[in-house]
Amino acid sequence: MKRVAALVAVLALVGVAVWGIWPSAPEVRGQEQRISVVDGPADDQRVELDTTFFAPPDGGKAPAVLLAHGFGGSKQSVRLQAQRLAQDGYAVLTWSARGFGRSTGQIALNSPDYEVKDVKQLIDWLAKRPEVRLDAAGDPRVGIAGGSYGGSIALMTAAHDSRVDAIVPQITWSDLADALFPDATGQGPENGVFKRMWAGFFFGRGGGPIQGLEALTRQPEPLSAEEARCGRFLPAICDIYQQVAETGKATPEAVALLRQSSPVTVAGRVKAPTLLIQGQRDSLFPLGHADANARAIAAAGTPVSLAWFDGGHDGGNGEADWLHDQTTAWFGHYLKDDGSAVARPFTVTRDGGRDPGTRQRIRLHPEAASYPGLGGTATTSVTLSGPEQPVVNPPGGAPASISTVPGVSGLLGGGGQSNVSVSLDMPGQSASFESAPLTTPLQLTGSPTATVKVSGKGQVTLFAKLFDVSDSAQPPTLPAGLVAPFRVTIPEGQSSVEATVTLPAVDHAFAVGHRLRLTVATTDMGYATPAEPASYQIGLASPALTVPTVSALAAPATGVAWWVWALPLASIVVAAIVLATGRGRSRSGGDPAERAGEPGVPLEIIGLTKAYRNGELAVDGLSFRVEQGQVLGLLGPNGAGKTTTMRMMMGLIQPDAGEIRIFGDPVSSGAPVLSRLGSFVEGPGFLPHLSGRENLELYWAATGRPTADARFDEALEIAGLGKALERAVRTYSQGMRQRLAIAQAMLGLPDLLVLDEPTNGLDPPQIREMREVLKRYARDGRTVIVSSHLLAEVEQTCSHVVVMHRGRLVSTGPVSVLLSEAVPTNGHGPRLEDVFLDLIGDKS
C-alpha cells in the first residue's frame, strides 16, 4: 500500500514538474507602425493605415499572413488571432482598413480603387521586411485571412494581385447586392427584397452587431452631423444607401456600385488556393455566397475548399479552435509547403450529439472529396400537401413574422449551442404545407426547391421557409433561422403566377417521424415589406419539395475509436504476461522427484532459512526430522523462529532457502500434501458472524473433502463447547475459541497435527484433558508437533523436543535423553526448564 501511495505521489509530482517546465509558446510582440498608402481611382489619395506587425518569434524568414478585420472592427479585433498565427511561425500584419480604427480615409467597401490598392501596397511593404520570405524580388510569400469584411478583401486582393499565394476568407459575401437584396426565385437583386435590418447595421456607423456584446456595453460617443449621417463612408456610397434604404428597391446604380465591391465579379481571376469558410448560422451572408465564390474560383482551375462551420453572423458556436486549425493547415500547406493535410473540398460541421463522458455538445466534421454545390449529389422528393390558403399582408407590414433578428440572435441564443432557431409566424400571414411523417431520416445538405402558386394582384413579396416539425409538443424549428425572400409579379389579366423558390441552403437532419413544413409568409421582421394591406391565395403548384442530399458526407461516421478494441485486447495480453511471469518462482533445489523424500517421515526440515524484511534471519539453516508417532515439543524463547517455521510448514510463507517435506512431499503454497496436516498456529481464525458449528462445517466444506471423513463428532467432543456451539463465534471467550480452533485442526484426523501454544487460555482441567488428547492422538500412529512456553507441560506431554534459539537449532532428541544428560541441580532431578535455560545460554 505504501509503495502504491508513493508511486502515485511521485507520478503526481512528475506531472506537476513537467507542466511547470514545459516550454511555453514564445512571446510574440507586435510592432505598431503607420504605413502610408496612396489610392483612389486616380491614385492621388494619401491614406495612413494603422498597422501592427508581428514578426515570427523564432527569427529567420517566414511566410507572411495579412490578417484582416471584420466590419466595424479594427486591427485590435484580430490581435489574438494574429499572435496565435505568429506563434505558428508566420510574419503577421494586421491593419485597420481605411475608415476604421485609427486609420484615415473613408470606407469604400473593399473597392478595387481603394481598399484593394491599400492592401497591394501592404504587400509591397511586406516584401521589404527582412523577416518575410520572398518568392521573387518584391513578391513575398503571403496569405490573407479574415472574416466578413476582411474575407472579402482577401478575395478581392487575390483577384487583383497575383502575388497572393493562399487565402482563407471567412463568412463573407460573393455579391453584396445579392446579399442585401436577395431574391429566391433567381431574378437578381433588382427584383430582390431589401434585407433592411442587416443593411441598417452594416451601413450604420458602429457595425454594432458584429462586435457582439461589446456593442451593447460600450459608451456611445457623440457624433458630428456628417458622421451621424454617413459615418465614415464615402459620400457616394452613403448617398446610394440612403436612397435604397428609403425605397427598399435596388436601383441599377446601387447594384452597380455594390457589384464593384463584390468578389463574384472578379473571383475567376483568383489564382491563390482558397479555403472558403462560411457560417451555417448566417442570415447576412448565407451559404449561397460561399457557393458562388467557390464555383467562380474553381471554374478558373484554382484549388478551392469549402467548409460550412457552426457559426456566422447569427452566432453559433464559432468553433474558433477548429477554424484556427483549418487556417494554419491551409497556410502550412500552401505557404510553408510543410505538407500539412488541408481541408478536403467540402466539409460540414454537424451536431454530434452530446459527448457521452462530458455531456458537452460535440461537433463532427464530415468531409467529401468534391464539392457538390447547393443542389447536392442526389435529391429526394418529399411530397407536401395542403390546400390553397388565404394570407394577408398587414397594413404597414406589422406585426411581422420573426425568423432571425440580426445581431441579436447570436447574443440571445446563448452562443447558439444548437443549430436551430425558433421562429414566430403571425396568424393569417402565412400558408403552410406539410409532408407526411418521415419514415427514414433525411439529411438535407443544400438548397431545397419548391414551386408555389400565388393568386392575387400586382407585386407580391413573400418569405418561404422550411420547418422541421416533430410530433411531440415541441415547437417546430426553423433550421439556422433562415428564410428565402422572393418577389413575384402577377401579370395583368392573370389571376395567379407560379414561382420556383430556392429555399435557404442549410445542413439539417430531419429525424424519422418528423415532418417537413413549407411555410410561405407575407412578412419578415428582417426585411422591408410593402406597407399597403393586401390579400392573396397561396397554394402549391407542385406537391414535390426537392431536397438535396450529399451521401458522401454521411460516410464519415467515425465508427469506434481504434482503442476501443485495442485496449482491452492489449490489457488481456498484459494480464496474461503478468500472470505467466508470476507463476510460482521455481526455487533452487531442482526437480523434486529427483530428491524424493521418504513418505513415511511426517516432517523433515532441511536447511530452512527465512529472513525478515530487514534482512535479519528469522530462521537460520534449521534442520530436523520428526518420526511417526512422536509428540514433538518445539521449544524456544520468543523470537526463536518457532512460529515462522510453522507458517512455512503450512505453506503460508516461502522459505528463502532450504526445504520442508511432509510425508516426503516438498511443501509449497497449496501443496496437496497439506491436506494431511492439521494446524493451529498463532491463534484461531473464525468467521465471527457464524456459529462454531457453521464455522467447522464450512471449513470442512472448503477443503472439498467428503463430509463423512471429517469426524465432526470426535472433533466437537474435544472442543467441548456444548450448546455454545450454536452461538456466533464473536460471543465466545478466548478459551472457547482456542478449543474450537484445535477441534478445527483435528477435523478429518490429520496424520500430522501442528499446534502452536495449544494450552493458552485453557484452565487447568482443560489443560490436563488436552494433554491426554494429544498423547492419545499420537498413539494411533499419528504425529503431533506442539510448541509451548509451558515447559512443564511439554515435559509431561512430549516424547521428543526440538529446541530453537535465534532461528537456529540448539538441540533435538527424546525428552528422556535430554533430561538424563543434564546434571541434577538443587538436589532434585533435572527439569526440562533447567535444560532449556541451559541450552539457550540464559541460565541465571
Partner: protein, 287 residues
C-alpha cells in the same frame, strides 16, 4: 499417498460455501437492505415532498428536462433516476465493499491462513472469492434498478418513458430491452471498482482500508475528470464514461460512449485483477 483421501484441489472452496460464508455477514445484509430500501425512500420523498418542482417540471415541456424532473413521470423514469443518483457513489461503495472486503476480511479474521493450509490453492482461492464477490456486486447493481422499477411502477404507474433533454417519449415496451443495456453497462463500468478493490484487498489486512482505498481512488479519478486541461486524456480515466448509459435512454441508441466506457473498464479490470493474482501468489501470508 501424497494427499489425504478425498482431497482434490479443484473441489476446494466451492462457490456455494463461499456464498454462504459471505452472505450471513451483517455488512452484506445491511448493504442489500439499503439498496432495496432506497427506491422506497425516494418514492416517499417524491410523494410527500413539496408538490411543485417535480410535477411542474414534467408538465412544462421546458427546453431541457433534467432526469430528476421526470422521475415521477413513470416507473421507468423513476428507475432511470434512481440509477443516475446512485451509480456515481452508492453502487461504487457497494461494489467496493463486496470486492474489497472479501480477502482482506479473511486476513483480519486470521481465517485466511487456515483456508490456505486446508489447502485451498491460492489461485483457486482468489478465483472463487472473485467470482462470488462479483456475483454479489452484480446482484447489488441489478437489484437496485429492479426494485426501483417495482417501486416506481407501483407509485407512479407504468407509462412510456420520457427522455430527459428533449422530453420525447419512447414506448415502455421498447425501452425495456434498453433498460437491460443500461444495467448491463452499469455492471461493466463497475468492473474497475471491483478490480481495484479486489487488488487492494489482497494487499492489505484491513477490510475497510480496501473499501476506502478503492472508493478514494475513484473519487480522485472523478476529480481529475473535472480538469478540462487534461483534454482527451480524461477519456482514459476509469470514471469518465460513468454516465454513458444515459445514451441507451436517448431516442436514438448510441453505442459509442458505452463502447469506450466498457473498453476502458475492461482494460483496467483485466490488468488490476492480473496484478492481484500475481501479488497474492507470491505473498507471504503473515496475518
Amino acid at each position: 499417498m501424497t494427499a489425504a483421501t478425498g482431497y482434490a484441489p479443484r473441489r476446494t472452496l466451492p462457490l456455494r460455501v463461499e456464498i454462504v460464508r459471505q452472505f450471513k455477514r451483517r455488512r452484506t445484509l445491511v448493504m442489500f437492505g439499503l439498496l432495496l430500501a432506497l427506491p422506497w425512500i425516494l418514492v416517499i420523498a417524491f410523494q410527500f415532498g413539496p408538490q411543485g418542482a417535480g410535477q411542474q417540471g414534467a408538465g412544462q415541456q421546458q427546453a431541457s428536462l433534467r432526469i430528476s424532473d421526470l422521475a415521477s413521470a413513470s416507473g421507468l423514469n423513476f428507475a432511470a433516476f434512481v440509477l443516475s443518483v446512485s451509480a456515481s457513489f452508492l453502487l461504487v461503495v457497494a461494489v467496493a465493499l463486496f470486492c474489497g472486503d472479501t480477502v482482506a476480511s479473511e486476513a483480519s479474521w486470521s481465517s485466511l491462513r487456515y483456508l490456505l493450509a486446508a489447502p485451498v490453492p491460492r489461485d483457486r482461492l482468489l478465483r472463487q472469492k472473485l467470482i462470488v464477490a462479483l456475483g454479489y456486486s452484480a446482484t447489488a447493481v441489478i437489484c437496485l434498478p429492479l426494485m426501483a422499477l417495482l417501486a416506481g411502477t407501483l407509485a407512479f404507474g407504468w407509462h412510456d418513458i420520457q427522455v430527459p433533454g428533449t422530453g420525447e417519449t419512447i414506448p415502455a415496451l421498447d425501452v425495456l430491452p434498453r433498460f437491460g443495456i443500461v444495467i448491463g453497462y452499469a455492471l461493466v463500468s463497475q468492473l474497475v471498482v471491483a478490480a481495484l478493490a479486489f487488488l487492494i484487498s489482497t494487499v492489505t489486512d484491513s477490510p475497510l482500508g480496501a473499501v476506502g482505498g478503492a472508493v478514494g481512488l475513484w473519487i480522485v479519478s472523478t476529480i481529475l475528470q473535472a480538469v478540462e486541461a487534461l483534454g482527451t486524456l480524461r477519456e482514459f480515466l476509469p470514471t469518465f464514461w460513468n454516465t454513458a448509459w444515459l445514451d441507451a435512454l436517448a431516442p436514438e441508441l448510441d453505442w459509442s460512449g458505452m463502447a469506450k466506457g466498457a473498453s476502458v473498464s475492461v482494460t483496467y479490470a483485466a490488468i488490476l485483477i492480473a496484478v492481484a493474482f500475481r501479488r497474492f501468489r507470491r505473498k507471504d501470508v503473515v496475518s
